[in-house]
């Protein structure tokens, strides 16, 4: 009794002491934790929880080795108490060492097999993907506590183990057989009403994986009453597995009857009719029944849905016996019914376009269809507007007109319709509804006219051929004759301003792009929630290189969390290459955190699925993890963020940066990247990448056609993204490993091998880039996505320069006698390369600047970015080269010196004798590097002062003349006059800001170069 009392008192005392320690740990007062624990351990040396908390404090202080020593000691004692186990679990989580934690829990649950410890052990095994151990732990739990959940865990573990084995592996079949036996025995021991849904799901999954379809049907019949389910669990999975079993067993009649009865219960369910048509359209016996089912639908349930179902059938069965005239008359009737019941629904266009825009329908039927939809002259309700929007969308797709005049005419007609819709919108706005957001959104449905108008005008930029030139001039002349009175005032004003300086003439193509930008800015002011307008406007601004403006528009999309993976591509890469370094850094960091946070938490979600018996989700979660963490966008985001960080280290050397977060030396930055740990580090080339970008948003904005340009763009740009990722990753490896080797003055740990592999990787990918040039024509120019940036990157010679510079430095390190053996020859070689690169770049940029236009600005800005970035890397490599030479000289000096004396041993390794340094190392000549920077700076300054960037290229007073006769007076008054100057200023400001950022980066490089010359760049921090 007294012993019990003593132990109880001791436990209370320990708890009280621990509480204080926990508080300190929570506050991250690590030093205090150490002193408190040490004091405690003096009194109670056998206190594993306190020791573990000390280890945790050490981990948080970055003293991992010391922490490991303590942890090893604690683990060897096999602790079982809750406090120690929890503290250990935090420690190993922070060390990212789940396997050791798993072993700790296995040992603890063996020593003291409690339910709590064993469940913790199971979860730890889930985290480490140890399926066999998971299954055994779960079975032990079930044996001891007889809870069905534990049985579910055991079977689910078996199934996931089987799934991860190759199909021919005997272990797979064994696991499935074992799972089936376990489940059938378990179910046999229970009454039917005692069976849990999750267990039944597991049984059906096991049977279907073994292709035991008869057994699947029997189980469904016995437990749920299929084909007429009586059970409460009418789960989607049951429906899926039932239909699959019938199909596999060839029970077509049963399947058809089941699907038919389900469809009659809910004719809105598209997947049912889709399945009926797909499965049975060609079946000799059931095919006619499908036909009569659809006829019955059309007769008894005339609706938009019935018409679409029949259209689906007609499309799928065409050429299979029906005569052309029968087919057309059937389609005509369907179209009529669809229009009658559905043309006023906003989804009409999306639902019907793929049936209508096919080669099966002749021009005549298409024309007839347009008449069926009809277009209104006056709008009296929101429905009439919706119907007309559908009309215009379908007309855009069915009757595309490459003629620029027709496009402008279409755009004007649409804008006219937009203004006509205003009356309905204002009556809706002044209704009794109090919510401004919601009502504005619906009232502004007519702004879809602006979306169609802008997309029609912008579509021209998907083509390479310029058939616009001179067309507008022709229109101006034509319009003056026709609408002479309307334009008289403009003519007068234009005459008055004839003497004004006309700085920049917009070309015909630019005129149309500006027209669409104006329309979209106007539309967004009226309805800021229209995401279609916003996306189109981002495309337009990125097309002309006004990235800062595009960035501002994109904030309205509020891209966040997982959307960075699917939608980030709309803006992120253009921002990164547009000179907006601070925004890029912020964007890339936020986007990367989505993946890293998920990576940290993903196993906890999997554990939740086990915990709550959602066994069907386990496989789905595993697949999702692969899909997200193998995302090519993730890889690019990670690599670009690191490259940006390396490039920005010239700021630290310049000493001009006030942000301490950026004040990091190249060495510190390089050391922070983890290449050796493949699990936690940056991807290497073997990985299979996924493409999760969401292109469906763009589909509505583009014309639907058989060529599927968007799919081509997604495929082609996805491939080039992977290529880009491999090249950029290799570049990152080259730079960081080079910096680390020279700074640490040792070549070990496979660093040189990694450099060689990276060089090989870049060369291989450069070869595949040459093939891209041929592919360039296959994919239309799609703003921001195509052509791939690598082409520019290679064409400017940036990559070759970095490769050459790295080659020289590498030679200086490994073969000093042949490469940079004598002091300075390495730097001379590098200087020559910089000079030739700079000359090439200057010529290329000057050529572009000579014929500069708004449409070229995007390309020019990206060119400048590539060169600025390359010069930053080059500056860092010069610094590296200089340090490498110093190291070499030190080694030479050591070799020449007499056998090491006791005093020289005391000197720090690699630290040169200051006297030797002063006499043998002349200041490096970096004039070529300076010259390259100066030359680029001058070019940027020249560009900054050009008409296009220094002030609005065409103020409204000047521009009026450009637009004379091209667009109507109403458009001029409502859209152009109020928005022109604002938009122009926005574009010019954007150019200015971006170019200023480039100049700032160059100035920082200058300071960094000065530091190299004085021998102090990249030190410290």
């Amino acid at each position: 009794m007294s012993t019990d009392q003593n132990s109880e008192t001791g436990a209370r005392l320990r708890e009280r002491k621990l509480r204080h320690l926990y508080e300190l740990v929570d506050c991250e007062n690590n030093k205090k934790v150490l002193t408190e624990v040490d004091r405690l351990l003096k009194k109670q040396p056998d206190f594993p929880c306190a020791k573990t908390l000390k280890a945790l404090a050490l981990i948080r202080m970055g003293k991992v080795v010391e922490a490991r020593e303590i942890l090893d000691l604690v683990v060897s004692e096999v602790p079982t108490d809750d406090g120690t186990i929890q503290a250990l679990s935090i420690c190993f989580k922070e060390l990212d060492d789940q396997p050791t934690m798993c072993k700790v829990l296995e040992a603890a649950s063996k020593k003291l097999p409690s339910e709590e410890l064993m469940t913790h052990c199971f979860m730890a095994q889930v985290r480490t993907n140890e399926y066999t151990k998971q299954q055994l732990t779960a079975l032990n739990l079930y044996k001891m506590y007889a809870k069905p959940t534990y049985f579910g865990w055991a079977v689910a573990s078996l199934l996931i183990k089987a799934k991860n084995l190759p199909p021919n592996d005997s272990g797979r079949a064994l696991s499935l057989t074992l799972a089936e036996r376990m489940l059938s025995k378990f179910l046999g021991d229970l009454e039917k009403d005692q069976v849990e849904e999750s267990i039944l799901l597991l049984y059906l999954e096991t049977l279907s994986k073994q292709k035991k379809w008869e057994e699947v049907l029997t189980t469904l019949k016995n437990y749920i009453g299929y084909p007429n389910p009586a059970s409460a669990w009418n789960n989607d999975y049951f429906y899926e597995v039932y239909t699959q079993a019938l199909m596999e067993l060839g029970k077509k009649n049963e399947l058809f009857n089941y699907l038919q009865s389900s469809y009659f219960k809910n004719t809105e369910e598209y997947h049912l009719i889709h399945r009926i048509i797909t499965l049975f359209k060609d079946d000799k016996q059931i095919g006619p029944e499908v036909n009569s089912l659809l006829k019955e639908l059309l007769t008894n349930f005339p609706s938009h849905v019935s018409a679409l179902s029949d259209l689906h059938y007609a499309n799928a069965t065409f050429n299979s016996g029906d005569s052309q005239s029968d087919f057309i008359s059937r389609v005509r009737n369907d179209l009529e019914m669809a229009c009658k019941y559905g043309a006023s629904k906003p989804s009409f266009y999306t639902d019907i376009i793929r049936f209508v825009n096919s080669d099966l329908l002749g021009e005549e039927v298409k024309q007839e269809f347009m008449k069926m939809i009809g277009t209104s002259k006056e709008y009296n309700s929101i429905q009439s507007i919706i119907r007309d929007v559908n009309y215009e969308l379908i007309e855009r797709d069915l009757f595309p007109d490459p003629n620029p005049k027709a496009r402008i005419a279409r755009a004007e007609r649409l804008v006219e319709k937009y203004f006509r819709g205003e009356s309905v919108a204002s009556s809706l706005r002044s209704g009794t509804e109090s919510d401004s957001n919601l009502i504005t959104k619906e009232a502004d449905y007519h702004d879809q006219f602006l979306v169609i108008a802008a997309s029609s005008l912008m579509a021209k930029y998907d083509d390479e051929i310029n058939d616009f030139q001179g067309v507008l001039e022709e229109m101006r002349n034509g319009r003056v004759e026709l609408d002479g009175v309307e334009n008289l005032k403009l003519e007068d004003e234009a005459n008055q301003e004839e003497n004004e300086d006309k700085n920049y003439n917009l070309s015909d193509q630019e005129c149309l792009l500006m027209l669409s930008i104006m329309l979209m800015e106007f539309g967004l002011k009226r309805c800021p929630f229209n995401h279609s307008l916003r996306i189109l406007l981002i495309k337009a601004y990125t097309r002309i290189g006004a990235i800062q403006r595009a960035c501002m528009v994109s904030t309205g999309l509020d891209i966040k969390h997982v959307q960075w993976d699917s939608l980030g591509y709309l803006v992120i890469w253009k921002v990164v290459r547009g000179g907006l370094y601070a925004i890029s850094r912020q964007m890339l960091t936020v986007a990367e955190s989505v993946y890293t946070n998920y990576k940290r938490d993903c196993m906890e979600h999997l554990i939740s699925a086990y915990k709550f018996g959602s066994f069907g989700k386990i496989q789905e979660f595993e697949e999702f993890r692969e899909q997200l963490l193998n995302s090519c966008q993730f890889g690019l985001i990670q690599v670009e963020r690191m490259l940006l960080q390396i490039g920005s280290t010239t700021l630290s050397g310049s000493g001009s940066n006030s942000n301490p977060a950026l004040n990091v030396s190249p060495y510190r930055a390089a050391k922070s990247f983890d290449f050796e740990n493949e699990k936690g580090g940056v991807f290497w080339s073997q990985r299979e990448f996924t493409d999760n970008r969401d292109f469906t948003l763009l589909q509505y904005l583009e014309r639907e056609s058989g060529n599927r340009p968007l799919e081509n763009v997604k495929k082609a740009s996805g491939e080039t993204d992977i290529n880009q990722l491999k090249i950029r990753r290799a570049l990152l490896v080259l730079l960081t490993e080079m910096i680390v080797i020279v700074e640490e003055n040792k070549e070990g740990d496979g660093k040189l091998a990694r450099i060689d592999e990276a060089i090989k990787n870049i060369r291989e990918n450069l070869d595949s880039l040459s093939k891209l040039k041929g592919k360039r024509e296959d994919v239309p120019n799609f703003d921001g996505l195509w052509p791939p940036p690598q082409l520019q990157y290679v064409e400017m010679g940036c990559l070759s320069l970095v490769l050459e510079l790295v080659g020289v430095v590498r030679q200086a390190i490994t073969e000093p006698s042949s490469g940079g053996g004598d002091t300075g020859s390495c730097l001379v070689l590098m200087s020559d390369k910089i000079t030739s690169f700079s000359t090439g770049v200057k010529g290329r940029l000057q050529e572009k600047l000579g014929k500069l236009s708004i449409l070229m600005m995007g390309g020019v800005i990206e060119d400048i970015h590539h060169v600025v970035e390359t010069l930053s890397f080059a500056s860092i490599l010069f610094d590296v080269a200089q340090k490498a030479l110093k190291n070499l000289e030190d080694r030479k000096a050591k070799a020449l010196a007499s056998p090491p004396s006791s005093s020289s041993k005391k000197k720090k390794k690699g630290a040169p004798d200051p006297k030797t340094k002063a006499t043998s190392t002349p200041p490096p000549d970096l004039s070529s590097l300076r010259q390259a920077h100066t030359s680029l700076r001058d070019l940027i300054i020249a560009l900054r002062g050009a008409d296009i960037c220094s002030y609005p290229p065409a103020t409204w007073n000047v521009a009026k003349k450009e637009w004379k006769g091209v667009i109507s007076q109403k458009l001029i008054e409502s859209v152009f006059s109020p928005f022109w100057d604002e938009v122009q200023h926005g574009i010019v400001d954007s150019y200015g800001l971006q170019l200023d950022q480039f100049v700032k980066a160059i100035d920082n490089n200058f300071k960094f170069i000065s530091k190299i010359e004085s021998g102090g760049a990249g030190q410290g921090h």
Partner: protein, 184 residues
């Protein structure tokens, strides 16, 4: 023409068209994953004929004893697919799931200014039973109506009885709160 299906993880890459709606929040990944892991039956989507996600509902079952109920966390339909009864379809599905789980009622929160949604919920038999101040954070914060529907009861009674309940319990509350302004 649409299909009702379970929401899967891969749909998180494809739900952007729906989430661009200004009143639809995009949550962190953990939030969605938790709902999928804990209440998979309560997370459903609507797909169009192109298999694009055009609407979804996310909910849960919670509470103890008599308070065991279904809860609608998020219900949204893309602008292009509104006025087709899809929200009602999703709500019915959630109610059926709640009924299978033997919930006593289903509740939800809705912005006090979201008249369209309030009307839709009322047509489905939901009544406003309380106002939660500053429930929605924003600039400024916004109040929410707590609405609920008694599952089995609401399904059994006819429309006349439903209107009576609405007039007895719901309208006075809304007049008192100034939600409905008397028209002259």
């Amino acid at each position: 023409m649409t299909s009702l299906k379970p929401f899967t993880c891969a749909d998180l890459f494809r739900f952007n068209k729906v989430n661009f709606d200004p009143l639809t929040e995009t949550y962190g990944l953990s939030f969605y994953m938790t709902y999928m892991a804990r209440w998979p039956d309560y997370f459903k989507k609507i797909e169009n004929t192109k298999s694009e996600v055009v609407g979804y509902i996310m909910g849960k079952a919670e509470g103890i004893g008599e308070n065991w109920h279904g809860h609608v966390t998020c219900l949204t339909v893309a602008e292009q697919y509104r006025r087709q009864g899809l929200a009602a379809k999703l709500m019915r599905n959630l109610e059926e799931t709640s009924e299978h789980k033997r919930c006593y009622f289903v509740d939800l929160f809705v912005r006090v200014t979201n008249c369209k949604a309030i009307r839709m919920y009322e047509s489905l038999g939901y009544i406003v039973y309380r106002t939660v101040l500053d429930y929605y954070s924003g600039d400024p914060d916004e109040n929410a109506f707590g609405m609920n529907s008694i599952m089995a009861l609401m399904r059994q009674i006819n429309n006349v009885e439903r209107k009576m309940i609405f007039h007895i319990f719901c309208l006075p509350y809304r007049y008192a709160k100034g939600f409905i302004k008397r028209r002259s």
